[in-house]
């Protein structure tokens, strides 16, 4: 019995160390058995944390543990200092000098620090979560935090050639796999980007790399090496309407007046931004494979003719009439040869000429199914007397209700 008690006291001492509580009162009847060994005191913190945060090698290959729920090791020592604990106390030689002036300092209790626990918890909380970098709405790409549509700056300087006034935009960023003899399925990042100086000089390139960053850099620099000069009309739009295609992708591009904007696929919008085109309409038909769209558009741009070339080819004058100038006709180009004089010569349509004899199918808008119904007709009749109301209200506001009834 005495031996047992002794043992239990020993255990009690050790259990104190691990923070267990033993009821001494009920000593004889129920004893708590505690083991002082666990992986907590056997392994270093680094290893313990790895067990929680790391992904297995096989998992890493498959790309696991990269998403939003990624766990990060916390440094539990942060915010803690030796000599400062739950209860603040002066320990001469530990957190205070032994002698202050001529006086010997003594161990001394001080007021309790209530916020300490809270502060430590706060520091730990702030460490744990993965924080996303906030992107300025202007710098954002097509969608969320994804790369496509985002600017990645001008290509790096080559020798003394600087790419000033250039800017590069990512068009596509995706993971691609290939099979290797010794590595098996190998993962790489493929990036398609377009770079341009916003003044008719642009290039695009596709590059792959083991990391996103390397792929971006490679693609950007390669695009800078493949610049094409594109002839712009009034430095804002294309020379003329054209049709272009690549693979199963067909694009009908039309020239637009000043202030129209870019009404086209987002990739084409980004390309136009890089080139410096501000007004354009494009309709993509068929496949919307991004790489094909980019290639088709660039081919179309390169194949454009100048007005002078078209005039020489057709032996006719090219004339532009602007509605904004009350239909005033302006000669844009005259052929070098003597132009056709006879009126009975068949004169081709300019758009037909530039589109390569293709005709854009303009589908008629189908009236909604209810357009013929009795209810809708009634609604239209009821609505008719209010048809000018908005206008009248506006004029009333403008004239501040001062009508001149005479």
């Amino acid at each position: 019995m005495a031996g047992l008690l002794l043992k239990s006291i020993q255990r009690w001492k050790s259990s104190l160390r691990v923070g267990n509580f033993v009821n001494l009162g009920g000593l004889s009847s129920n004893l708590l058995i505690s083991r002082s060994t666990s992986f907590f005191n056997k392994l270093p913190a680094e290893d313990i944390w790895r067990g929680v945060t790391a992904v297995s090698n096989a998992g890493k290959k498959r790309g696991r543990g990269k998403g939003t729920g990624k766990k990060i090791a916390k440094d539990l020592n942060k915010g803690q200092a030796i000599g400062i604990g739950k209860k603040t106390c002066i320990w001469p030689g530990l957190n205070a000098p032994i002698i202050r002036g001529n006086e010997l300092l003594h161990q001394q209790k001080q007021s309790e620090n209530i916020d300490r626990e809270k502060n430590i918890q706060k520091i730990r909380d702030s460490m744990g979560n993965f924080k996303q970098m906030k992107i300025n709405p202007i710098d954002r790409g097509w969608s969320g935090t994804k790369m496509p549509g985002r600017s990645i700056g001008p290509p790096d300087t080559v020798g003394e050639e600087e790419f000033t006034s250039f800017d590069t935009f990512v068009l596509e960023n995706k993971i691609v796999f290939i099979m290797k003899g010794n590595m098996g399925r190998k993962r790489r990042y493929s990036v398609l980007s377009v770079t341009g100086n916003k003044n008719g000089l642009a290039g695009f390139a596709l590059a792959k790399g083991p990391e996103v960053r390397t792929a971006l850099r490679k693609s950007k620099n390669r695009a800078g090496q493949k610049l094409m000069s594109i002839n712009l009309y009034e430095n804002r739009t294309i020379n003329h309407d054209f049709y272009t295609g690549f693979g199963k992708t067909k694009i009908f591009v039309s020239k637009k007046p000043d202030g129209y904007g870019l009404v086209c696929h987002r990739a084409l919008q980004t390309i136009c931004k890089a080139i410096g085109i501000r007004d354009l309409h494009a309709k993509i038909e068929g496949s919307t494979n991004l790489q094909h769209i980019v290639k088709a558009f660039f081919i179309g741009l390169m194949r454009q003719k100048t007005y002078q070339d078209i005039a020489n080819e057709s032996c006719l004058h090219i004339v532009e009439s602007q509605m904004a100038r009350n239909g005033y006709t302006e000669i844009k180009a005259s052929p070098h040869m003597d132009p056709k004089n006879a009126d009975n010569d068949r004169i081709i349509d300019f758009m037909q000429f530039t589109l390569g004899n293709k005709i854009v199918l303009r589908k008629k808008s189908v009236p909604p199914f209810y357009a013929q119904s009795m209810g809708y007709t009634k609604h239209e009749i009821k609505k008719e007397r209010f048809r000018n109301q908005a206008n009248v209200r506006l004029h009333k506001l403008v004239n501040n209700y001062n009508y001149n009834y005479t």
Binding site: A324, R325, N402
Partner: protein, 390 residues
């Protein structure tokens, strides 16, 4: 309820009174006699048109329109020629001047008095002939009064009925605030929006209305002070403006502007117009005839300008190049001499008011012309161009 309605009606009436009293003050310069015969005279019209000039870039300048599309097409040279003629025709149409006529007085014209119909209703009845295609002036509008009198409607009612059944684009039932509020109108003037005011005026009012005369006179007076005549050049309002100044004997500022800008032919025409209107016994017609022979009319000039675009790629003669470099030809120098003589005669007469200023302008122009002529002859000699006349 009916009481409320009555009060509201009274208030509305008061508003109307306030509005009509708050209209623009009448201008100081008014046509005392009917200007129409003088204005519509063929010779006057020709002078005014020539003074207006035809700058295609100004007539067909870029405006803000809902549809600003551009139409590109192929054309043969023959088609282009036709297009040029159409362009000139269109420009001339756009430059057609709003007529200057006397103010039409409202006269009561009673058709019949039918006392039997007295108190047939509490309000007047207006009957309008809405036959399609009638011109506004011929549309019959009659009013049956409460006391049974049937009479032709006043001009005001006729205009409103016309606007009601056959609305004119841009014309409003109410007076636009810029024409009723003195401050707003003054702001328009101070910002030199002369063409805008006159365009809106032409849309809103008929040329025979008092408001038309009043507002246009105010604009022209303001223009004469700000001297921004070039704003109206090559617009439809330049002719009436020149006519207004000639009628009211205040052409000197406009004349100064014309001399300064080297539009000597126009200056001569302006003086001639003023002589013609005021019946000054001076033979201006001979000078005008001489000048017309030497210098083409604005339409011909504009057509030549259009055609010059066609022959861009063709090699130009050296004489042509010299002329474009200096901007004047031999005939221009001759014409300038004749016009300067005529202008100096005017300055010397008692009709000119700002003699010193005008003399100075003429002197500067003379010196400039002399320099140009010397340069022109020097260049010709250097390039070995023979005189065609000799």
């Amino acid at each position: 309820m009916s009481l409320f309605r009555h009060i509201r009606k009274l208030n509305a009436l008061q508003n109307v009174r306030q509005l009509s009293s708050a209209g623009l003050k009448s201008s100081t310069l008014q046509y005392a006699t009917d200007p129409q015969p003088q204005f519509t005279d063929a010779e006057t019209q020709q002078l005014l048109q020539s003074m207006t000039q035809l700058q295609l870039d100004k007539v067909f300048r870029k405006r803000t329109v809902p549809d600003n599309s551009v139409h590109t097409q192929f054309m043969t040279t023959a088609q282009l020629e036709k297009e040029f003629l159409q362009t000139i025709e269109k420009a001339q149409q756009l430059l057609q001047m709003p007529p200057v006529v006397k103010i039409k007085e409202d006269t009561e014209r009673i058709i019949s008095k039918d006392p039997a119909l007295k108190d047939f209703a509490t309000t007047k009845y207006v009957f309008t002939d809405i036959t399609f295609g009638l011109p506004q002036s011929e549309r019959k509008v009659v009013v049956r009064d409460v006391d049974g009198t049937l009479s032709y409607a006043t001009l005001d009612i006729t205009k409103r009925m016309n606007q009601l059944y056959f609305p004119l684009d841009g014309r409003k039932f109410y007076t636009p605030r810029m024409f009723s509020d003195e401050q707003l109108f003054q702001r328009c003037l101070d910002e030199h929006k002369y063409e805008f005011i006159l365009d809106r005026l032409t849309v809103q009012y008929e040329p025979y209305e008092a408001e038309f005369h009043n507002i246009s006179a105010k604009v022209f007076e303001h223009l004469n002070e700000s001297k921004q005549f070039d704003q109206l050049r090559s617009t439809r309002h330049f002719g009436p403006m020149a006519f207004f100044y000639a009628w009211h004997r205040c052409i000197d500022d406009l004349l100064y502007d014309m001399i300064r800008r080297d539009y000597l032919l126009n200056a001569v025409q302006l003086i001639a117009l003023s002589y013609k209107i005021h019946k000054v016994p001076l033979d201006y017609q001979a000078t005008l005839r001489q000048l017309e022979e030497l210098q083409p009319s604005p339409a011909v000039k504009a057509l030549a300008e259009l055609r010059s675009g066609l022959r861009q790629h063709q090699a130009k003669g050296i004489e042509n190049e010299i002329q474009t470099a200096i901007g004047k030809t031999e005939t221009d120098f001759q014409a300038d001499e004749i016009s300067l003589r005529f202008i100096e005669q005017y300055i010397g007469s008692e009709h000119a008011l700002k003699k010193v200023q005008l003399e100075l302008a003429v002197q500067t122009l003379k010196e400039l012309n002399l320099e140009k002529q010397q340069l022109y002859e020097g260049l010709k000699k250097a390039h070995g161009v023979q005189q065609q006349a000799s």
